[in-house]
Amino acid sequence: MSTRLAKGGRLIDRSKTVKFSFNGKSFTGYQGDTLASALLANDQMLVGRSFKYHRPRGIVASGAEEPNALVNLGSGVTHEPNQRATTTELFEGLTATPQNVWPSLDFDIGAVNSYASRLLTAGFYYKMFMYPRAFWKHVYEPFIRQSAGLGKAPDAETRDPDTYEHFYAFVDVLVIGGGVAGLQAAKTAADSGAKVLLIEQTADWGGRSLVDGGSIDGKPAVDWIKDTLEALENMPNVTLRNRMMGAGVYDHGYALGYERLTDHAPKVAGPRHRLWRIRAKQIVTATGAIERPLSFAGNDIPGVMLAAAVRDYVVNHGVSIGDRTVVVTNNDDAYRTAIALNEAGLDVPVIVDAREFGGGALMEQAKALGIRVETGCGIAKVHGKKRVTSVDICKQAGEGAVLWSIPCEAVAMSGGWSPVVHLWSHCGGKLNWDDTQAFFRPDASRPPKGDDGEAMVRVAGSANGELGLNAGLQDATAVGQAAAAAAGFEVAAVAPQAAEEPETPIEPIWQMPQGAHYGLRLKSWLDFQNDVKVSDVQLAAQEGYESVEHTKRYTTLGMATDQGKLSNINGLATLSNALGEDIPQVGTTTFRPPYTPISMGAIAGEARGEIFQPIRKTPMHAWHEANGAHFEPVGHWRRPYAFVKSGESVKEAVHREVLATRNSLGLLDASTLGKIIVKGPDAGKFMDMMYTNMMSNLKIGKCRYGLMCTENGFLTDDGVVARIDEDTWLCHTTTGGADRIHAHIEEWLQTEWWDWKVYTANITEQLAQVAVVGPNARKLLEKLGGMDVSKEALPFMEWRDGELGGFPVRAYRISFSGELSYEIAVPANLGRAFWDKLLEAGAEWNVTPYGTECLHIMRAEKGFIMIGDETDGTVIPQDLGLNWAISKKKEDFLGKRAQQRSHMTDPKRWKLVGLETVDGSTLPDGAYAVAEGKNANGQRNTQGRVTSTYHSPTLNKGIAMGLVLNGPDRMGEVIEFAAVDGETMIGAKIVSPVFFDPDGEKQNV
């Protein structure tokens, strides 16, 4: 069993106990423990179940590479799935539950899949669930959803109580990884005066050297780390951040840093995670290396761990995995584990070294300690179910005949080390296969390049394939110097010297024993999380999957949340053997950010709750909120759709607003309409290019309705233009169009007519604007007093500056409703006061604020088009019968040429008409008018569609507009529209789109 030793544990403070719970049971750990070390200290070897076979899973690693120990952390509002126990620092009150277990961790029904594993091979799902087709939805998918998956998704109704943020940082050199190489690279770069940011994903500085020791410049590595760290802390040009992972490297020296601020101390104030968005002139990755497992039967049984992890737990946390640990290796490094265990007073019954002649100095040291070493051997099979009970030793060269059976509680395996090249590869850094050391390493001649075409990322230490302490230091010094130089800083650097014993080279072992029969390969795991075994990859190769990317997807190798940190190299070596190709020919899968999963909260940053998205508010917004506004989004604005009174439905409110406005007086907050000034000696000429109709000849003081098209001829916006003075025009745009149209006209001005003397300014937000609408509109304004708003002084389609009720105003006599109507603009800060004044003074006429739906109905009754309803990016003004607004005199305007193309002049283009249902009902929005016959796809032919449809309270019947084939020539004809069910047909008569007051008598009074 795994337990806490009486002594040792570099990181733990035995005077401070920490209570936590796992799987509903209470445990105690020490401050300085990770959740993984604390679980092991409490003999919790079993931590979860695998994805496919629900096999018992124990902790394998001690860091970010851990594939198995994923837990649901927290509960209720703080519940978070898929948290890695090995990187979760223990804190008081931590609550964790195992994942993928049903009904319980110890007894899992899904484990029956394991007995069927001969059937559940690679591609099983693809093959099995093809037939019968109907079974997928009702039988297969529900079953898979129940049995597959890892952590539980947080409850949809819970809200994360923590906060998150982003931070933009700019540095000369970013160094990722705080091991010896990272420290040395950072120190070297910082000595040049460059601004350096050094980040480390764990809480601890120093990396593997803290456990593996060694001596640097004549002092113990631990002391050198301490001194270097202190020196860096004292440099004003250096920032050090621990608990911050380099998550991704992107173009142009952009990198993401994922800082976990309060995961280890949840009660501390401030944000939980901070996502650093870093711009660095140079990036140095010193991300170390990850140990590889060995592929032997039963290598997934709890108690089989990476050799370095076993010694990490002993040295860092004083935790032993078992009294007897069998070490199995193909390289010298694993001997360190045997030595560390021996020093901790634990038994290593045997070191199984697959190499014919074993290792070098470390092997001699182990032998001197009295540890039995068997060379040229391997593990045939591990015995045990929920924990290791014994191992069978065989000859590595053979097929697995058992030489000895050795009882033990733990197996420490080492298949060699793989440099962590992820960050180097994220942005295109290329790799070479190093045959001697059996790993992929960065090729410095093919780096990720910056905007200058030069290297922007460099790699130092183990991550660069320099596994030895001294080699790593030399490499890191050179890389730190080169990074500083590339960032524009010079430094003369002297590398520290480390004492280093030469090691005997690794011997690549991809299957143990090399001739393992199918039964053994079927139990030799490559990917522990996704249950991919050696036999699966070999099957994929047999079935013709040659590309590593295809094999990955077919077998799901490396597709779990650990992204194959342990499994990738073993998997592709297995594939290359099966294909009879060399490893470099097979290549790797693509490394993509983030390095390990980062929280969704960190990605969202501050954007949640009330600042999830900006909501634009007019000066009158608070009044709307307080007076029953039923809002609808229009761009980022929220506009009142209707003002609902108590006891009233939204529909009833709209009905009331229309009638009140038509019969007496309505008010609309029109502040959101875009207002763009166009000014200059060439402004008239420019306006004529932007609008389809003539604007240059508009007289000062007058208004004109205008259309804007794209260069492809399609209608893009409309609105009223006012001529302000000799060289100034004011363009009104739609609410959603203000920014878009301003950008559109600036683009044409800056790129096509850059030499024309025109300036524009978007003054949308300077003004609050209120439409005062209805037969009593003039009476209200006259009551306010100040300026003459009579028919004579302010005729229809004109504007005047003046004063109303003491407010400085610009009054426009324009109408989008067909009523007598004014739009009054006041400075935004006075908007609310002016609105209040209108309400107060208008009370005697039952003044009724109305919303956008009332606006829509009134404009539809008048046959006025709406951008976004009658237009959809494929409609030209001619389709809408707006030929009167297209100048024939002008030589050119945006869209003119396009509108002359054959498809645009095709008489078969659907044209705008009014539609009146035969039975008075309201047509469904978007409904199609059906025609005889079917098209090539067997669909009913169509001859038109509805663009706007409403129930008109004024006329008390359904009214609609639509685009219909030859529509204007078919007045009076009844055509059929299909209801939503596609079956029911609704007859509608083609009529003029102007349903109400066709002569404009109401607005022109």
């Binding site: 700019f170 401030g270 501050e606 900006p614 980022h636 949308t764």
Partner: protein, 188 residues
């Protein structure tokens, strides 16, 4: 002018820096040819401040001029003075191709005072806020989280932020969140 109804009526918040909505401020947009001495002398003469350099603020005794783009300036003055100054500028620039617009109501203005104000800005805008890169008198037109905005340092412990009026409430809540207690970064 404390009676002018601004976007948030002077709301404030105390965190790792102090966030305050400023009272109404006079703002005049100017567009013209910076290379034309007539334009420059008319503007600098009336505003009584020098022409600002690129991405900079020039502060005079009473008013300031902000550099907004290669052909756009913003004049800051008191809210009451803005219409008068607007008219004067319009007159002075009448013979030139220029645009003058009083936009005093178009924006919400905020001030950050003391504490970690540089870091609060660096949480929201993709700008290098280190003192070497962003000095007193420097100005950026950029974005703050999801909205457009401009900011500058009027002194080492005062930053001014402007955004459009309609998103004033969003901006205030944004600054409040970025300035929440316990959120100092310790980088700048």
């Amino acid at each position: 002018m404390s009676d002018i109804a601004t976007s948030l009526n002077g709301a404030s918040f105390e965190g790792i820096t102090r966030v305050e909505e400023m009272r109404a401020q006079g703002m005049i947009t100017l567009r013209g040819d910076f290379a034309d001495p007539a334009f420059v002398s008319a503007v600098t003469g009336l505003v009584e401040a020098d022409m600002p350099g690129q991405r900079q603020v020039s502060t005079g005794a009473e008013r300031s001029i902000l550099w907004m783009s290669p052909d756009e300036l913003m004049v800051l003055c008191t809210y009451a003075e803005a219409p008068i100054l607007e008219a004067k500028l319009r007159d002075a620039l009448a013979d030139q191709h220029a645009l003058v617009a009083n936009v005093s109501d178009a924006r919400a203005c905020f001030e950050l005072v003391g504490g970690d104000l540089r870091e609060v800005l660096a949480k929201l805008a993709p700008v290098d806020m280190s003192p070497e890169a962003f000095a007193v008198g420097d100005l950026r037109r950029t974005r703050l989280a999801q909205v457009a905005g401009a900011f500058w340092l009027s002194s080492e412990d005062k930053a001014q932020i402007v955004c459009f009026r309609s998103v004033g409430e969003y901006m205030f809540n944004l600054l409040k969140t970025a300035a929440q207690p316990g959120s100092s970064v310790g980088f700048i």
